[in-house]
């Protein structure tokens, strides 16, 4: 499976995602400069975290108009996989590929720490190697992760099982006290209706190796790869799940 990591000016988790794809998952991967429009040959796109355009105006608002984004929208429409992490998630929201918007964290501070996140939907291409309801320990690092959507929108997300990750306590309690940033319904990650575009605030690339203290994010990448190669005759990546 060939990953493409899109590089916007100000992206700063691009190299981390690239590293996980190449060195941890042993998959082919290339950087895609934000001015490029050609996405031929890629099977999955990663919109990495960071501060595209310095987060000026609104997070993701300017990157959304980078030339590559028109191609990303077409890529998504073709059913191939797109994952946006942190700032990447914010860009997907601004681009309208996912519903809702991001507000500043409720405590008005940047928050960098490990949080517990509950896997609410394990039947997506990004999560099928996980178990429904399992609790993951994943780092967050953001200023604007306070996900907002109106009531009707939230109901639609819930009805369609589009909420993939929710902030929770160590035992999976998804109550407000365990929401670090004020996000509606403790939402940490959502998927589009078609099920091929995922946005999440936590950073799975920061917990894909034991050396960094947690491997709870690795299965997300493994899920993508193994889902992709079903029926291709390629060997699935080994996973301990």
């Amino acid at each position: 499976m060939k990953f493409g990591v899109i590089v916007f000016p100000g992206s700063n988790c691009d190299q981390d995602c690239f590293y996980v794809a190449r060195d941890v998952l042993k998959q082919p991967v290339e950087y895609i400069w934000h001015k490029s429009a050609d996405l031929n040959g890629f099977d999955c796109l990663i919109l990495p975290g960071g501060f595209s355009y310095g987060d000026y105006l609104r997070c993701g608002a300017i990157a959304r108009f980078s030339p590559v984004m028109n191609s990303v929208i077409k890529f998504a429409e073709s059913g191939r996989l797109v994952i946006g992490i942190c700032n990447g998630f914010q860009i997907l929201l601004e681009a309208g590929l996912l519903p809702g918007a991001m507000l500043r964290n409720k405590n008005l501070h940047f928050i960098c720490k490990h949080v517990f996140v509950k896997l609410e939907n394990s039947s997506t291409p990004f999560t099928h190697l996980g178990s429904q309801g399992e609790v993951l320990r994943i780092p967050i690092a953001h200023n604007e992760g306070n996900y907002y959507i109106d009531r009707a929108g939230l109901k639609e997300l819930q009805d369609n099982r589009q909420i993939v990750f929710r902030y929770c306590g160590p035992q999976g309690q998804a109550s407000e006290e365990f929401c670090p940033n004020g996000a509606v319904d403790n939402i940490a990650g959502i998927i589009n209706k078609q099920g091929n575009v995922l946005g999440m605030m936590p950073h799975p690339e920061r917990c894909a190796e034991l050396a960094l203290g947690s491997v709870d994010g690795k299965f997300i990448f493994e899920s993508m790869v193994n889902r992709f190669i079903v029926g291709t005759g390629l060997k699935p990546v080994p996973t301990d799940r």
Binding site: F51, G54, F110, C112, R206
Partner: protein
């Protein structure tokens, strides 16, 4: 402005002005005078400090690299470049932008050496939080560091924060950056090769920060708020693009030299690149990209607008290099070329406004400064322990110490810093030292900042030695061999003999300790004039140290891991109280001498801990420092946030005075925990190195219990300890 009237306003003395007339054999132009004033300021020319700094060791176990703007060591073909720098006065005036631009400046010093920045640390000092302005400063500085560091994508992995009344009116913001690159890819800050182009890259030039380094950094603080217009504004987004563009451009091999435009911007960059390359440089100011109109030549030369650099591009490759910067959305324009006559020539619309020898500008006059032992020492050193009442309730004393802001957890601060970006941080903030893996060489480095300035106030020679020893001890506790130092020396007015004595003794102390540990001082920074109308700050010779971990699997953290393990004290019993937090917090006394430091004992203890960690015998290792043994044990119990583990300590050597045994800050001590089966092996290692070894208790339970001769003296619930320790800082910040 006419030169004759203005040299004094620019900080030059009569003698210096006569010296300039002698060099030029004519009167300087206004631009030349401005350039001399900054190159000969303390900040750029080290006029008062250079003679002493030359005595610092430059060699150690690893090959040392001493560059123009930073230094480092070589480990297995990899250059590790690092430096710490102060941004105190700008932060005191405008904390957010002051701290932000401090971070930006130190990062540029690293990537202009060709190294990718991989970690930041910050050493901060504030006055007491009961003053609202100090709370404003703390919030602003933390906001500035997170604003800049998070966006630029370099993890802020560690640092230190202390609070003391001596910093009321003059906070310290010292930022340290570490970078790596293959040894043969290092870049120099030199202009070489006659005919090569001088290219300006990065942001545009405005009037911001004019005179910053000579005005803000080279005199005492009085009416700081008046100087706000000279503060620069940081743009981390542009800096991030500059990092990527610069590293990409350096990779092409078309660059002969590169330098940050930091203090005194274009002046320092042109003059120092020419001097370092034994070349001359000619530039035309009209080619400098600007954002303000009608700037005078001297303003362009003195501007400290941020995120700008000067690049010496090999002739014929200008377009190639320019295209890389333009791709990243940055300005890039050729403003001049390298010449062979050693002269810096600056033209404005073709008219010559500067024509001076680069060497003359960079050879600032060096002064032998008078020094005198300060008078305060004779009374502060006097400490009669018999007059100090022992506390009746040791639990309360321990809680009070844990809740004092200098000891309390700094989580409120580091939670706001992205300490994980780049996905290499193996030990996150909250342990003795941060550990960052080096993927390409399968090693890791540990990094720490240390200085107990109270010790330095009481005894700068010993205090500075302790700063080095403690930094090394923190690294050893993480499993790293101490390898190299950057120093950031913050002091008062060097023209006052008692302040200069503190400086002199501190430099001697650093030198002595570093030589003993065989650690070079590869880079550094001097910041004088840290005074407010109320007096000088405590002498604060900040030590930034990195250490090498050959096997990244063999690292250690400070918190207890398992129930039922043995707790070991390596090192002597606590017996001193001078300069302790205990005296300060509980008895409101700043008194006594700094704790003793016996370097051979220190080394023996560190070597024992290091070997125990390397052999996989130790579960935890924690340096015993401020607050003494009791605070060290409490932190070992509670700092593992998701897994707090208590301890029963029934055989600690507490000496004759219980308070000195529990809270005294006797040096050269490390608390280790290990499985029972490992204790004998660690004992054998301690015997080999002749380090004192004692099993003092076991881990387990939900409380820290310490007893002496069968009598319980401390029994504190971990939740309560944790609440006090974790909550104190935020509580004080709220005011």
């Amino acid at each position: 402005m006419t030169a004759v009237k203005n040299y004094e306003a620019l900080g030059l003395t009569d003698a210096e002005y006569q010296h300039i007339l002698g060099i030029l054999k004519r009167e300087p132009t206004p631009t030349e005078l401005a350039m001399f004033s900054v190159e000969w300021s303390e900040h750029c020319g080290y006029t008062h400090s250079k003679k002493l700094l030359q005595a610092l060791p430059k060699k150690g176990k690893y090959k040392a690299l001493i560059g123009e703007d930073s230094g480092g060591i070589v480990v297995g073909g990899l250059a590790i470049v690092f430096k710490m720098e102060s941004h105190n006065h700008p932060s005191q005036v405008e904390p957010k932008q002051g701290a932000a631009t401090g971070v930006g400046g130190i990062i540029r010093d690293i990537f202009t050496a060709g190294a990718r920045p991989i970690a930041l640390l910050d050493s901060l000092r504030f006055g007491e939080l009961k003053h609202p302005y100090n709370r404003y400063l703390l919030r602003g500085v933390v906001d500035g560091i997170q604003f800049y560091g998070n966006c630029v994508g370099v993890p802020t992995v560690g640092g230190e924060i202390y609070f003391d009344q001596s910093y009321n009116g003059n906070c310290l913001v010292n930022a340290m950056c570490i970078g790596i690159c293959p040894k043969d890819k290092l870049a120099r800050a030199r202009a070489t090769g006659v005919g090569n182009s001088i290219m300006y890259v990065g942001s545009t030039t405005g009037r911001d920060g004019i005179g910053g380094c000579s005005i803000l950094a080279s005199q005492e603080f009085k009416e700081c708020q008046d100087k706000r217009p000279t503060v620069q504004i940081g743009d981390p987004f542009t800096e991030k693009c500059l990092i990527e563009a610069t590293l990409e451009a350096l990779e092409t091999g078309h660059i002969a030299g590169i330098k940050d435009m930091g203090a005194a911007g274009l002046t320092c960059a042109t003059v120092e690149m020419a001097a370092a390359g034994n070349s001359g440089v000619e530039i035309e100011l009209q080619a400098v990209p600007r954002r303000e109109e009608n700037m005078a030549p001297w303003e362009v030369m003195m501007s400290e607008s941020q995120e700008r650099m000067l690049v010496c591009v090999k002739k014929g490759n200008e377009k190639f290099v320019r295209d890389i910067f333009v791709k990243w959305g940055l300005n890039a324009s050729v403003i001049g070329k390298v010449t062979d006559d050693g002269i810096v020539r600056v033209r404005d619309k073709g008219e010559l406004v500067v024509e001076v020898s680069a060497q003359a500008l960079t050879r600032a006059p060096l002064y032998d400064v008078p020094f005198k032992k300060p008078e305060y020492l004779s009374h502060v050193r006097k400490l009669d322990l018999r007059s100090i009442k022992q506390p009746r309730d040791y639990n309360r004393a321990l809680l009070k110490l844990l809740g004092s802001v200098s000891i309390a957890s700094k989580e409120w601060v580091y939670r706001q810093y992205d300490h994980m970006v780049q996905a290499n941080t193996m030990v996150l903030p909250g342990s003795d030292a941060a550990v960052i893996r080096l993927r390409d060489v399968n090693k890791a480095i540990a990094a720490t900042c240390d200085c107990n300035s109270l010790y330095c106030y009481l005894n700068p020679l010993v205090g500075a030695q302790i700063a080095v020893a403690e930094a090394a001890r923190n690294l050893a506790c993480s499993g790293a061999t101490p390898a190299a130092v950057t120093d950031c020396l913050d002091f008062g007015n060097p023209k006052k003999p008692d302040r200069f004595w503190q400086f002199k003794k501190s430099v001697e102390g650093i030198s002595r300790s570093c030589r003993f540990f065989n650690i070079p001082v590869v880079s550094g920074n001097v910041s004088f004039y840290n005074e407010s109308p109320k007096g000088s700050i405590y002498p604060t010779p900040g030590i930034g140290m990195i250490g090498i971990i050959d096997d990244p699997e063999k690292i250690c953290t400070q918190y207890f891991k398992n129930q039922g393990e043995v707790v070991i004290l390596l090192g002597p019993a606590g017996r001193e109280l001078g300069g302790s937090r205990y005296l300060q917090e509980i008895h409101k006394l700043v008194k006594g001498d700094a704790p003793q430091l016996k370097l051979p004992l220190e080394k023996a203890v560190q070597k024992t801990a290091l070997e125990a960690i390397r052999k996989g015998l130790a579960s935890s290792a924690h340096d015993c420092s401020e607050g003494g043994l009791a605070v060290c044990l409490a932190e070992s119990c509670i700092s593992g946030k998701d897994n707090m583990i208590g301890a029963v300590i029934d055989d600690a050597p507490l000496g004759v005075r219980l308070d000195a045994g529990l809270f005294g800050e006797t040096q050269s001590r490390i608390i280790i925990s290990c499985p029972k089966s490992s204790a004998a092996k660690i004992k054998a290692i301690a015997q080999k190195f002749k380090a004192p070894f004692k099993v003092i208790g076991v881990t387990g339970g939900a409380a820290l219990k310490i007893s002496h001769k069968g009598k319980e003296i401390i029994n504190a619930d971990l939740e309560k300890l944790s609440q006090e320790w974790r909550g104190a800082l935020e509580k004080h910040i709220q005011g």
